[in-house]
């Protein structure tokens, strides 16, 4: 017995449903499309620097959403969604650290 849980059956569950790959295919296509847009915008020089950077970051954020919902099953879980809270908090801190570091390190020292 693999794990010592005598009471558990590890084999196929009696009434499990078969899931098709539909969602995964949608997710894959979405990620491809988002990437293609990003490359097209950047390499085709379709936008100016600032707006381009912002748009690319938004496309990146959408990719996070795609991976989380289509591939990583972020909505599933056991009990309260603690993992989502950790993720959201982590994202906030990640962006806060990155952006505030840049803010601090820009040294716009204002002495006249």
């Amino acid at each position: 017995m693999a794990h010592g849980h005598v009471e558990l059956h590890d084999g196929p569950a009696p009434a499990h449903e078969h899931h098709g790959p539909g969602l995964y295919i949608v997710g894959y296509i979405a990620s491809l499309v988002l990437t293609a847009i990003a490359f097209w915008l950047a390499l085709g020089h379709h936008m100016a620097g600032g707006p381009l950077a912002l748009t690319l970051l938004i496309l990146g954020a959408l990719q996070i959403v795609v991976q989380l919902f289509f591939f990583m099953h972020v909505t599933e879980g056991d009990g309260p969604p603690f993992h989502s809270m950790a993720l959201v908090l982590g994202l906030i801190f990640t962006f806060a650290i990155a952006l505030m570091s840049i803010w601090i390190m820009s040294f716009h020292y204002q002495v006249q």
């Binding site: 693999a2 794990h3 558990l8 059956h9 569950a13 894959y28 908090l89």
Partner: protein
């Protein structure tokens, strides 16, 4: 810190028994607590990459007269890397799906495909680095290159570690079949893999596309 998911062994006999309505990897509460643990680990890893990104952004203009991002980055190269990794994330997802459908053969097949895609990603990246070094763009040349190689290299070594790990899980599935334990392992290694895909999205955006264009 790839030890988090390796932590087996616990002692909480009071957790309620199997819940067969849930996906296989969540049925045993002893396994689902590990999935939570792994999500927490991913949060720390995200912060780690966040700090590396911050460093890269602060240092990316510090080229010390050496090669700049524009001169260095090879568009077909990172485009290929990007599509390979996106595809591997998809095939990894299909392995999870096959696991939930209790199809051991498909699990093995998709894991193998994912590993192969991962290997070609790492191969391309290694080739890119090798080419850069031949051109004199080494880590020691400038702060920009230090930050570039460290950020992209950290991602690359995460992917390499993921390949080794995924291979070890492939062997375990081949040997033991789909159990609640191996199901949890398949699920977790794919979480890791998708996470690395997300990190790559930001690398190709912030490092490569910004570097080539801005």
């Amino acid at each position: 810190m790839a030890v988090a998911e390796k932590a087996l062994g616990h002692a909480h006999g009071h957790l309620s028994g199997a819940d067969l309505a849930k996906p296989l990897e969540y049925q045993d509460p002893h396994q689902s607590v590990r999935i939570l643990g792994f999500w927490l680990f991913l949060a720390t890893d995200m912060l780690l990459f966040g700090c590396l990104f911050a460093t890269y952004l602060v240092l990316h203009t510090h080229t010390d007269g050496g090669p700049t991002a524009k001169e260095l980055f090879d568009i077909p190269g990172f485009t290929a890397e990007t599509f390979i990794l996106l595809t591997s994330s998809f095939t990894g997802g299909l392995a999870t799906l096959a696991m939930r459908n209790r199809n051991k053969k498909q699990v093995l097949a998709w894991l193998a495909v994912t590993i192969l895609l991962g290997l070609s990603f790492v191969g391309l990246e290694a080739q890119e680095f090798y080419k850069d070094v031949l051109e004199g763009a080494t880590m020691q040349r400038s702060a920009f290159l230090s930050a570039f190689f460290t950020l992209v290299g950290t991602h690359g070594s995460h992917v390499s570690l993921g390949i080794v790990w995924m291979f070890s899980i492939l062997l375990q599935v081949a040997k033991r079949g789909l159990t609640q334990v191996t199901a949890r392992k398949i699920f977790i290694v794919n979480l890791y893999w998708h996470f690395l895909d997300v990190v790559w999205v930001f690398i190709f955006t912030v490092v490569y596309l910004f570097g080539v264009v801005l």
